[in-house]
Structures are given as structure tokens and as C-alpha cells.
């Protein structure tokens, strides 16, 4: 199916022009002197900590950013080529809490959960990329290298991690290099995207700027992931907040392309609204679906892969709100042509992740995947002959070769979890719910799915890198 353009051509152009206006006249607050100097040297105007970026520079940066690249699996069968027309599901990043699958209660995320989510995504057929929660049982200074090490050990699929500083990037790259047999080998088949979040509005801390610089210098795929809140850290108007977020993403891309032209970048939208009663950031609302679709369109317009939170919900429990918010969000993101569908498994405005939700989301992805494949229209599928045969025969299509061939050819999607029982059978079986089936499947996969372990010496070397990181970074 062709992607849906939620913005009319003229609207898109106005958002783009307003973005250039912001970058050129308000600029980006960059708290990193070396980067300011570098940008100064290529024609930016630097006023104090603010860097004003010209339209020409933005255009050149977008030109040098590759329009397509691949996030690799440990095995090539798990590769995710980020190309137009393909969407990949990514588990939630950075949630501080998880819903414990055994107790059903919320608790702090732990390193064991990072491993569980990675293994679960590895096992599920429609889950493509892993992002970790933020575990509390590890020193915060080394949480990112530990998360990457844990994911590398527990999945063969591509992964993404959000970092806050350049020094984290250095250790993450060391861990990844060890797992892939050297930095060159890793760079040739990167299994990791590193994301950095500018602080809205239009601010990059010294640490975040260093993280962008280090990632770009290594030539590793970089995500620029601002998260402005409508009315709080971004304008109250949706178009205005999109403009600001767009400027934040493009500013990050300019830095990366200036450091290392050709650095693969992902345009990541995490725009939310602030609930004007509680101050909470809200992820399950129609405005987020709308701005996600617009951001995906902007990414297509700029020719870089786009990533949005496709499974956002404000619901805490497993209820109807949870289902419809994530389904509508996903539908909007997929139809708008987002390359990466973030926040699989997330609940409560991305504050928690649950294994049951990851399993359910795998089913949702399969559902929309079938939708987006559209329908085959050709001589055979138009079925003129089959209709004639049936009408002239016993009036049934069941026995036709045409029926069997199309059924085997995947004309109809078969769900893994959804209920299609008749009422009596459903009643006799104790009225099972999809949540129960999701939970059972999650527990079954966690008990039985094995990920091919890394070689023992690699495992030991990764531990040694983590020990080095701990020795250097953890303040005792």
C-alpha cells in the first residue's frame, strides 16, 4: 500500500520552512564548545551557546545522510533493511518499571528484565528490534553498556539503546566490538542503533552532544530522539510542536553529518502532550497518532528512516483503552510509512513494559502487516473462472483447487492469540481471555526459548569491558 500523507504538500512545505526559520533565527543551544567551534568553522553563526544553522547547511546534511541502510542481526536472517515500504517493531526503551509476569504487580525494572525482553523479542516472529528498560540493580553510570551487553547475549536481532553521554558510547562500542570480532566488523554490520535525546526546547547538553559526536565518529547508526511535550516543552499547537521537534532532529542530523558525512541517522519522533491537570506526558491520544503520522511523513520527505512510538497508551491495566489506544497509534504509524515502530510492550505512558504486552503487540503487528500487504489483484485472484465453476457446480467454493491454492498462499491471516471460537466452545473452555493466552505464551517462551550463547571467550571479554567501565565511571 502507498503510505498515507497526513499533511498536504503545501502544509508539509510550510512546516519545513518554519523549521528552517527556527534553526536560522533562534538556533540550537549547544553546550559543547568543540561542537560550536566546529559548526562555526563551516558557516554557522554562533551567538554565545546558540548556534544558528542556515537552510543551506541543513540541506547539505540531509543530502549526506543515507536514505536507506540496514540494522543487522547477529544472523543475517534477522537483518532489518530500513527501506521505503518496510516497517519494523521495536520494544520499549527506558521504562523504569515493568509489570512482573508472575505477580501482575508493577516493580522496578532489573537487568533480568532486559534479558527477558531481549529473549522474548528474539522468539517472536513479528518483533524485529530490541530496546531495553532502565534497570535499577546496576550502577547508573554504566547502565547503558550493561544493557547493551545483556541484549547482545540474549538476542540475535538488531537493537537500540538511548544514551546520555559520550563516555557511555565509548564503552558500548567496545562491548559491541568484542561481540562482533572488532570495531570494523561491527561497523560493517551494525547490530545497534544509538539514540540521543536533545532536551526540548532546542537544547543539547555537553554530554548529549558528545554522545552524538562519538556515535557519528564511529559511523554507527544514530537516532536523534527529541521528546517535546505539547504546551510544556513545546508549543501548544500541534503544527508548532512538530516544527520545534523537526528543528531538534535536523539540528542533531547537522551535527552528525558535520562530524562524519554519511553517518546513518534515524528521524525519531517522541512528541507527546502534557496532561494539563496532572503534568504527565501522555502517549495514547489522537494527537500523538496524528503527529507521529506527520513525523513519519517528514522523515520520508527528508529521505531518512523515521521512527515513532507506535504502541503508546496511557492505560495501566490490560483493558479496552489499552487495546484501542495502541491499535490506533500503530495503525496511524504504519499507514504513514514509519520505518520503525517503537514502544512495543509499553503501558502507562511508556513508564512500564510488560511481557504480555510484547506478545500481544506481536499479534497487532501481524494484523497490520497483513493489512498493509493489501490484496492481490490479477486474473487468478479476480476468480472469474472459480466463480463460474462454483455457480455451475454445487454452489460451494470449498472443494475448488482455487480455494485450496489461495488458502495455502496466505490469502487469509491466521492469528496466534486472537479468539475465533464459537460461543459454546469458548464458554466450555472457561471463557479464556487474550490476556491469559498472552501471559501463557510469554511464560512458555521465556521458559523454553534459547538464544545461541556468545562464545565463552567473548563473554569473558565483555565482562572485562564492563569491569573497566565500572572502574572508570562509577563513583564510589
Amino acid at each position: 500500500m502507498r503510505p498515507l500523507d497526513i499533511l498536504a504538500g503545501e502544509e508539509l512545505e510550510r512546516i519545513h520552512q518554519a523549521t528552517l526559520d527556527v534553526l536560522e533565527h533562534t538556533g540550537f543551544l549547544i553546550q559543547h564548545a568543540a561542537t560550536r567551534d566546529r559548526l562555526d568553522g563551516i558557516g554557522c553563526t554562533v551567538r554565545g551557546d546558540r548556534v544558528l544553522m542556515s537552510a543551506d547547511l541543513v540541506a547539505r546534511a540531509l543530502e549526506s545522510a543515507p536514505s536507506e541502510f540496514t540494522l543487522h542481526g547477529r544472523k543475517s536472517e534477522n537483518d532489518c533493511p530500513l527501506v521505503q515500504g518496510r516497517s519494523y517493531a521495536l520494544s520499549t526503551s527506558g521504562s523504569p518499571f515493568v509489570i512482573d509476569v508472575r505477580t501482575g504487580e508493577r516493580r522496578s525494572a532489573l537487568v533480568g528484565d532486559v534479558a527477558d525482553f531481549a529473549r522474548l523479542v528474539d522468539a517472536l516472529p513479528h518483533s524485529h528490534m530490541v530496546s531495553p528498560p532502565t534497570p535499577k540493580d546496576v550502577e547508573p553510570e554504566i547502565v547503558s553498556p550493561v544493557r547493551v551487553a545483556t541484549m547482545l547475549r540474549n538476542t540475535t536481532k538488531p537493537m537500540r539503546v538511548i544514551v546520555e553521554s559520550g563516555v557511555e558510547v565509548r564503552y558500548i562500542l567496545q562491548v559491541a566490538a568484542v561481540a562482533h570480532g572488532g570495531l570494523e566488523a561491527f561497523r560493517a554490520r551494525p547490530q545497534l542503533q544509538i539514540s540521543v535525546s536533545p532536551l526540548s526546547p532546542l537544547t543539547l547538553s555537553e554530554e548529549a552532544t558528545q554522545a552524538i559526536v562519538e556515535t557519528a565518529e564511529a559511523g554507527v547508526p544514530l537516532g536523534v530522539v527529541p521528546a517535546p511535550m505539547v504546551g510544556a516543552t513545546g508549543p501548544m499547537s500541534l503544527a508548532g510542536c512538530l516544527v520545534q521537534q523537526n528543528a531538534e532532529v535536523l539540528g542533531g542530523i547537522v551535527i552528525a553529518q558535520t562530524v562524519n558525512p554519511g553517518t546513518p541517522v534515524v528521524y525519531e519522533s517522541r512528541l507527546t502532550i502534557m496532561d494539563m491537570r496532572s503534568g504527565q506526558s501522555i502517549w495514547g491520544n489522537p494527537e500523538v497518532a496524528l503527529t507521529n503520522a506527520a513525523a513519519a511523513q517528514l522523515a520520508r520527505y527528508y529521505g531518512v528512516p523515521g521512527s515513532v512510538t507506535a504502541f503508546g497508551t496511557s492505560a495501566k491495566g490490560m483493558d479496552d483503552q489499552n487495546g484501542f489506544e495502541r491499535a490506533f497509534n500503530l495503525l496511524a504509524a504504519v499507514m504513514a510509512g514509519a520505518s520503525i515502530l517503537g514502544a512495543m510492550g509499553a503501558g502507562d505512558n511508556v513508564l512500564h513494559t510488560s511481557v504480555e504486552l510484547i506478545v500481544l503487540d506481536d499479534e497487532l503487528v501481524a494484523w497490520v502487516d497483513k493489512l498493509m500487504r493489501g490484496m492481490r489483484v490479477d486474473d487468478e485472484s479476480l476468480a472469474v473462472t472459480a466463480i463460474h465453476e462454483a455457480v455451475m457446480g454445487d454452489g460451494s467454493f470449498l472443494a475448488l483447487r482455487h480455494t485450496r491454492d489461495f488458502l495455502r498462499g496466505g490469502e487469509i491471516w491466521t492469528p496466534a492469540l486472537s479468539d475465533r471460537l464459537n460461543y459454546e466452545v469458548w464458554d466450555q473452555e472457561g471463557r479464556p481471555t487474550i490476556q491469559q493466552r498472552a501471559r501463557a505464551k510469554a511464560l512458555e517462551l521465556l521458559a523454553n526459548h534459547e538464544v545461541e550463547p556468545l562464545p565463552e571467550d567473548v563473554d569473558r571479554e565483555i565482562d572485562a569491558v564492563i569491569d573497566d567501565a565500572r572502574a572508570e565511571l562509577v563513583v564510589v
Partner: protein
């Protein structure tokens, strides 16, 4: 005439127009009204109405914050005169507020600060990325009764614990009530690190501070 000025002042606070409030406060003074009366019957009464509208569900956070800024604009004019007359506005206590080291997020802290001020607390906002030792020194010097620590990043919430530990090490823990806030924070965390209070949102943060203030 003077009653009209106070009614207009209340209305301007309710509308959330700081520049107007400032002008009206000056007009009220020029009309010969007592500074304390202008504060109590104009500003404080106005901000109380703002709070009531919020409780009724008619007002939202931007209305609260603009109301609070309006009141502050009026106080800028009036407060120096109160001090000179030996009169003082009733204060529920002083809150030192800041976002912990390594964290640059300010919006939640700023909302809480505005609401606390509007509710009668004095607020000393230390800003963002505040080193632990700065919090400790401020508690030592100021004698403030409350310390509010904000953290948004899941990797910086540990700094809240570090501040509490540093207060203990400095023998200052008993002097101050420590309140925690931020999206990754829950009550279990606040209990674990030995905070005195926690609130899931700004309006509730004010309620918690008031409860602690009346208990002390």
C-alpha cells in the same frame, strides 16, 4: 472605588495577567490602600479563586502557573513595603527546590515551584543539574524546612538518594523534610531512599507539603 480596584486585581490574578496585576497593585497603592490589605484581599484572594477553579476542573496547569506568576508580579511591588511596615505575609515555610545533578529537566520542578509559591510557601529554586553538595550547603545555610528534589531521567533518580545520604552524613537530615518528584519516581522508591514525601503530580505535591507543614 478602592473596592473596585481590589476586585479588578483579583480578576487580573484570575485571568493570569502579570503585567496588569503589577499596574493594578501600583494603582491600589496610589489610591491609598494598605499594602497588606492589597496582598490579602487582592492577590491572595485572587490566587485562592484560581485554585478553586482548578479544583472544579475549569482551570488547567497553564492557568495555575499564569496565576502564580501574576501573584508574584504583584508581590514584587508590595512585598518590600510590607517588610518596611513590620508586617509580613504568612508563610507556610521555605522550600529549596532543584533538579538533581546530571539532569537538565526543569518543567516539572517549575510547575511545582509556581504552585508552592501560590499556596503560601517561600521557594528557593536552585535550578537544574544541581550538585549534591550545593543542596546540602543550602540546607545548612538557609534553615529551610523543605527540600524538593526533581529527577526525570531513570539514570539520575539515584542522585536523590545521594542527596539524602549526604544530608545524613552532614548531620542535617533532621532539619529538613525531603520531598521527591519526577516521572520515574514512585512511593516505593521514596520510601526506600528515606524521603519524607512523594507526590505523583504537582497539585498533590502542594498537598503533601501542606500536610507536612501542619504536622511539624
Amino acid at each position: 472605588m478602592s473596592i473596585d480596584i481590589l476586585a479588578d486585581l483579583r480578576a487580573a490574578v484570575l485571568d493570569g495577567e502579570p503585567a496588569e496585576v503589577k499596574q493594578m497593585a501600583q494603582r491600589a497603592l496610589a489610591a491609598g490602600l494598605a499594602p497588606l490589605a492589597i496582598v490579602q484581599e487582592g492577590l491572595t484572594a485572587g490566587i485562592r479563586e484560581v485554585g478553586e477553579e482548578f479544583q472544579k476542573g475549569k482551570y488547567f496547569l497553564p492557568d495555575l502557573v499564569r496565576g502564580a506568576h501574576s501573584m508574584e508580579a504583584g508581590l514584587e511591588v508590595l512585598e518590600p513595603l510590607l517588610a518596611g511596615n513590620g508586617e509580613a505575609r504568612a508563610s507556610l515555610g521555605t522550600v529549596i527546590l532543584g533538579t538533581v545533578h546530571g539532569d537538565l529537566h526543569s518543567i516539572g520542578k517549575n510547575i511545582v515551584g509556581a504552585l508552592l509559591r501560590a499556596s503560601g510557601f517561600e521557594v528557593e529554586d536552585l535550578g537544574v543539574n544541581v550538585p549534591t553538595q550545593v543542596f546540602v550547603e543550602k540546607v545548612r545555610e538557609s534553615g529551610a524546612g523543605f527540600l524538593g528534589l526533581s529527577a526525570l531521567l531513570t539514570t539520575t533518580v539515584h542522585q536523590q538518594e545521594a542527596v539524602i545520604t549526604a544530608l545524613e552524613d552532614g548531620g542535617l537530615r533532621d532539619r529538613v523534610r525531603v520531598l521527591l518528584g519526577g516521572a520515574p519516581i514512585d512511593k516505593a522508591w521514596a520510601d526506600r531512599v528515606g524521603a519524607d514525601g512523594y507526590a505523583p503530580d504537582a497539585a498533590r505535591a502542594v498537598r503533601v507539603a501542606k500536610e507536612l507543614a501542619s504536622a511539624s
